[in-house]
Assembly symmetry: C2
Homo-oligomer: 208 residues x 2
């Protein structure tokens, strides 16, 4: 009989990151609602320059880990290159930094901040519907951070309403990813561990 392999991170200390390096991660899943989903997903992933992040595509999702700006540049490129004018598609993203159970393994921190993908997508614009949820971990005053982040979306003009469990955003793809970059930087500065969940949707046939 095989011994059960329990996880051991229950005693990890909140407030201390398990990784010593400054690693931001994004795990994401593209879901193009089309019979051509395989070529859309694989075509997009292949078009991303991942030379400045650590990258792994698994059965359920793809993961990029590295410097914050390069992770965001790569995941944005994947979404922009997967976008088709006539295909309804969602992308679920989990940005995370500072987990007490994290390690330095499976990451790559590029030496510079020169983005590898921005030039291939800066001329591509399309409107995106989005929902986000921010989880500041290990702190009792977490609602303050959430409100601050939501109110920055109000200031930017991309806020489209609050509903149960999520905040709704609307905007051009570049405006949304600029906002995600800001949220990740703000949270990295203010919090030991945070998770930002965001789901993007394009070309929904549902009336507004």
């Amino acid at each position: 009989m095989q011994e059960k392999q329990y996880v051991q991170y229950g005693s990890c200390c909140a407030g201390s990151c398990g990784a010593s390096k400054d690693i931001t991660g994004c795990r994401f899943s593209l879901s193009p609602m089309s019979d051509r989903y395989v070529e859309i997903i694989l075509g997009a992933i292949e078009q991303v320059d991942v030379s400045k992040v650590w990258s792994k595509t698994e059965r359920l999702s793809t993961l990029y880990r590295g410097r914050r700006e390069h992770v965001i540049d790569a995941v944005k490129a994947c979404f922009v290159h997967a976008w088709q004018p006539d295909v309804h598609m969602t992308m679920e993203m989990t940005f995370s930094k500072g987990c007490p159970g994290d390690t330095d393994a499976e990451s790559y921190l590029a030496e510079d901040t020169v983005l590898r993908n921005e030039s291939s997508m800066k001329e591509i614009h399309f409107p995106v519907d989005c929902k986000i949820s921010l989880y500041p971990m290990g702190v009792s005053n977490y609602m303050e951070f959430i409100a601050h982040v939501v109110n920055h979306a109000v200031d930017l003009g991309i806020y489209a309403g609050s509903t149960h469990y999520v905040t709704v955003l609307k905007g051009d793809v570049h405006a949304l990813f600029d906002y995600f970059a800001w949220v990740n930087e703000y949270c990295a500065n203010e919090l030991s561990h945070y998770v930002l969940e965001a789901t993007l949707s394009v070309n929904s046939p549902t009336a507004e």
Copy 2:
């Protein structure tokens, strides 16, 4: 010039739920990767008996709120009825309870625990890949709760591995939803506010 409508919940107290009633919610999005996605999604939603939950389908997702067992019964029914033997599909779910910003509005607490949908799906079985992330909010010892929940999946034989930011599960659709029911009950008993994110995937063409 219009005045900006900022959100006001930054001062909500952690440890106190904004709702006085015992409301569990689940917001979910189905993504069938098929040209027939509209009929698959709407067909599934129409087959769910929502008489024991508060229900709303919005542009980005559908939301059920009510007693824990009825919310889980309804969202499980939606997934089971959307499943097609030959269509790759994902479903992203956010279970939540106890948010300091929550209210009693937009909910329905049925008087009894007799499930409305279980009989229509109990004979339907199929394997599901899954990733979950648990966010116990407002507490510094959150890693303990996460480890306990993951180790219960180990005990049940549905644990398929830990990777960055998520735990991977595999099992029959009923085994997974039984587990989600257990996690929601455990967290409701142990935590003032928690969020459980889960993404289900069926019929992935990616090799294991």
